[in-house]
């Protein structure tokens, strides 16, 4: 005892500088033995307890995927709709209705929107994040507008990076491949004292696009044969006081690549994005208080030299507090200013004021309910629309929209192994800035927004069950869903028509009508003897609707059946992973100039793989491949996918 006391006295003299932390996801994950997320309700939760249909893809899975972009990671570990139209052109959605430039999936990086409000899309190629700096990708299927506001209707993807304060991530990846593929990226983290640190990341990539399969019209507008991009991001976190941290992040990305647009034509997007954000996080006696302000800017030039600039400034304040033993409340307010400038033309902007409340009630051990409500009030303004040809007068752009979104869920864990989830949600999809207020004349056709468009309202109901299976260190799960979409918007996916009073044909977005989606999602994963592990995700989505005819083809845009399966093996320094994906038929249109041609994609199976050799503690050499089964294969309404092989070297230091 005496010896122990002496040692203790000496140890206590070294009283640590560390103190109670704000949310440290790495430490919480180590504590609970499973991924932790705040993307479901705003409250930190174990993934097994969230009241939504969520999949978390870990950093280890990302590394093993052999993918070099996020949509491919998603395709290999989930049953999300991942459409790849060209080497760098993707659209990602959930539960069907996934058209080019899908507007229905909200994507964020560390809670900051990277969804682009111009067309209401995500440019996956332009995202300023390196795969090596991602801690986890959180995938929520179904609406979550009560937490995130507009556009979280089909689902939400939150890409969570490592904390610059708590995680030391230092790596360089160099990758070369067939068809002129070259990539280099790096991540470096520097500690700045307890609870503080900074992380920098950058990446460069270029390749030759898939090329074959373009229409003559696309040739007329010009095709980018050598897509390329450069990205930079900085992320810093400083401990100001016990339990108080101040964060800054900044990013810049420039990309030039083809993308299949909602208008059924490939266009080259020369695009720059940048962002600045400041955050304050405080663990106080009044709860976890988070304040953030950020600005996202976009400058893009596309088809026929149409250039638009767009910027959104967002200010957020939330307080998440546990009251008593069983109740957690999260109150939030948000202000959003968004503006679109048509080069040399009119300007459209809106302000949104939002307020939300989430209530989580631990009713009993193993039984929790969550209810979240959010009201968004939008006021839209436009000017400069008088110049002919114009489909709408300025006055039409002065408009208000007020909507209520909700999420409600009940999670019951009847045993240590089982979890049952019942949920209902309403999500609101706002027409994009382009859909509301674009103004351009291209090739003798007026392309005009429609300020009278109504938001899309999505009601979603689902029932899920998940069971851990310790014997195979895995799980099985099933979710049934039924979803009603009202007022689906056409965006620019309509044929040119003649409008009264206009001297030229015009493309004007409209609301097309309602559509239903219902089906089931199955999930299973586990380990096998001799170092093997496996996983499978299946999704059935039946889509029906009564929609007005349009070029955008919601009803057949996604396969009815999707299956992703994987098998991995690890032994000593070697690692092998194989990924298969099966999808049934889907179809859409491509603009041929004088007409729209229907494109049907038959059932297909694709394969990807990675073989890795860990040379030592720091060096990993890997051979990776995608679309391995055929030299070329039609997998979407875009260009036929091309087999591709890569060799990569990763250095961790």
């Amino acid at each position: 005892m005496r010896r122990l006391s002496a040692g203790l006295a000496a140890a206590l003299l070294l009283a640590g500088a560390a103190r109670a932390q704000t949310i440290n996801y790495g430490a919480l994950e180590a504590l609970f033995g499973e991924p932790v997320t705040a993307s479901a309700t705003g409250k930190p939760q174990r993934v097994s307890e969230v009241p939504v249909d969520m999949t978390i893809i870990t950093a280890e899975q990302i590394r093993r995927s052999g993918a070099h972009d996020i949509p491919t990671v998603l395709a290999r570990y989930t049953s999300l709709d991942v459409q790849q139209y060209a080497a760098t052109s993707f659209s990602v959605g959930a539960r069907g209705l996934t058209t080019p430039m899908n507007q229905r999936l909200l994507v964020l990086v560390d809670g900051r929107q990277v969804y682009l409000d111009d067309y209401g899309r995500t440019d996956w190629y332009n995202l300023p994040v390196q795969l090596a700096e991602i801690r986890q990708i959180e995938v929520v299927r179904g609406p979550n507008s009560a937490l995130y506001g507009f556009n979280a209707v089909a689902g939400v993807i939150n890409i969570v990076t490592y904390s610059p304060a708590y995680d030391r991530v230092n790596s360089v990846v160099v990758r070369g491949g067939t068809h002129g593929y070259g990539e280099a990226s790096g991540v470096v983290t520097a500690p700045l004292g307890p609870g503080s640190g900074i992380r920098l990341s950058a990446g460069l990539r270029r390749e030759t696009d898939w090329l074959r399969g373009h229409t003559p019209l696309e040739g007329f507008y010009g095709i980018e044969q050598q897509p390329a991009r450069g990205q930079f991001a900085a992320n810093a976190l400083f401990r100001l006081a016990e339990g108080v941290q101040l964060g800054f992040d900044a990013s810049y990305a420039r990309s030039r690549a083809d993308d299949l647009t909602v208008a059924a034509i490939f266009g080259t997007f020369d695009q720059q994005t940048w962002s600045l954000r400041s955050r304050l996080i405080a663990d106080t006696r009044f709860g976890l208080i988070e304040a953030a302000i950020y600005h996202n800017a976009l400058s893009t030039e596309t088809l026929g030299g149409v250039r638009v600039t767009q910027g959104v400034t967002v200010a957020q304040l939330s307080d998440t507090v546990k009251l008593g033993a069983a109740h957690t409340l999260r109150a939030s307010v948000e202000f959003r200013h968004n503006a679109l400038q048509n080069e040399g033309g009119p300007t459209l902007h809106y302000n949104i004021v939002s307020t939300g409340l989430m209530w989580n009630w631990a009713i009993a051990r193993g039984l929790e309910s969550t209810v979240a409500l959010r009201w968004d009030q939008l006021s839209l303004h436009g000017h400069g629309y008088e110049t002919p040809p114009s489909a709408f007068a300025n006055a039409a752009y002065d408009r208000g929209i007020g909507v209520l979104a909700y999420n409600a869920g009940l999670v019951w864990r009847p045993s240590e192994l089982d979890s049952l989830r019942l949920s209902a949600a309403r999500g609101i999809g706002l027409p994009s800035l382009t859909d509301l207020g674009l103004h351009a004349v291209s090739n003798g056709v007026l392309v005009s927004g429609n300020p009278r468009l109504a938001p899309t309202v999505v009601d979603n109901y689902e029932l899920g069950w998940r069971r851990r299976i310790p014997a195979m260190e895995g799980h099985v799960g099933v979710t049934g869903f039924y979803q009603v979409n009202r007022g689906l918007g056409s965006s620019l996916g309509v044929a040119p028509g003649l409008l009264a009073g206009l001297p030229v044909p015009a493309i004007v977005p409209v609301n097309l009508g309602p559509a239903r989606s219902y089906g089931v999602e199955l999930s299973a994963a586990g380990r096998l003897p001799f170092g093997f592990d496996w996983g499978a995700e299946y999704r059935l989505a039946v889509v029906e609707g009564d929609l007005a005819p349009a070029v955008i083809n919601y009803l057949d845009a996604s396969p009815r059946h999707l299956l992703s399966a994987r098998l991995g093996w690890g032994g000593g320094p070697y690692r092998a992973d194989l990924f298969l994906r099966y999808a049934t038929t889907m179809s859409g249109y491509r603009d041929m100039g004088q007409r729209y041609a229907a494109v049907t994609v038959d059932d297909y199976i694709s394969a990807g793989a990675r073989l890795a050799w860990r040379l030592d503690e720091k060096l990993t050499l890997a051979v990776e491949g995608s679309d391995l089964l055929h030299e070329r294969q039609r997998q979407s309404i875009g260009l036929p996918a091309r087999r591709q092989l890569y060799l990569s070297l990763r250095v961790d230091f």
């Binding site: 005892m1 122990l4 006391s5 040692g7 203790l8 006295a9 000496a10 140890a11 206590l12 070294l14 009283a15 640590g16 560390a18 103190r19 109670a20 932390q21 704000t22 949310i23 440290n24 430490a27 919480l28 180590a30 504590l31 609970f32 033995g33 499973e34 932790v36 409250k43 930190p44 939760q45 174990r46 097994s48 339990g243 663990d283 106080t284 709860g287 976890l288 998440t320 507090v321 546990k322 009251l323 008593g324 033993a325 069983a326 109740h327 957690t328 631990a362 009713i363 009993a364 051990r365 193993g366 039984l367 019951w412 009847p414 045993s415 240590e416 192994l417 089982d418 851990r468 310790p470």
Partner: protein
């Protein structure tokens, strides 16, 4: 906040019964003796406690004096795999109830993990740690439900942490907000 309307109160009671019944059916007999994984879990949980343990602080495994088998079991646990709080190593020690109280009063220990043999002395230990900032823990929930012990931790088959707010208050312990939101409290 503790005042509830009669309807929610009845609903809560019914749900508690339902949940308890299901857990009783599914979980089987409760296990009380600590395992090395429970010790690791407690060490990790200390990272969310205020005051945060100092570098080299002691996590004591507490046994009943005069019980050689309990002492041997506690010493086996203390001699087990080293535990860390983040990157900071913690020291493990096996101590008797009396030694535990002395250590707590002189604030030379960060946490006391009571083995099954020490649980009958939980009230004495609770008095001993009052206001010291020393965390008390056990692997069965009973003493926590009686507000004698601050935390009940269980690593398998699923990590479960139950905290007594009353016992934590008495011991001078606080928790990080995120941690509180992720555990069960009473």
């Amino acid at each position: 906040m503790n005042a509830r309307c009669p309807i929610t109160s009845r609903l809560a009671r019914a749900a508690w019964l339902l949940g308890a019944l299901a857990l009783a059916l599914a979980a089987g007999p409760l296990r009380a003796e600590a395992t090395p994984r429970d010790v690791q879990l407690l060490a990790r949980a200390l990272g969310f406690v205020d005051p945060l343990p100092a570098r080299g602080a002691v996590l004591a495994i507490v046994y009943a004096a005069g019980d050689p088998a309990a002492r041997a079991a506690a010493e086996r646990l203390a001699a087990g795999e080293p535990v860390r709080l983040g990157v900071v190593p913690l020291r493990l020690a096996a101590v008797s109830v009396g030694e535990a109280v002395d250590l707590a009063r002189s604030r030379q220990v960060a946490a006391l993990l009571l083995t099954e043999s020490a649980l009958p002395e939980a009230e004495r230990i609770a008095r001993g740690v009052a206001g010291t900032g020393v965390l008390t823990a056990a692997t069965e929930p009973g003493p926590v439900e009686r507000d004698r012990i601050v935390l009940a931790v269980r690593a398998a088959p699923r990590v479960e942490i139950l905290a007594s707010r009353s016992a934590a208050r008495d011991a001078g312990i606080g928790f990080a907000a995120a941690f509180r939101m992720m555990i069960q409290e009473r």
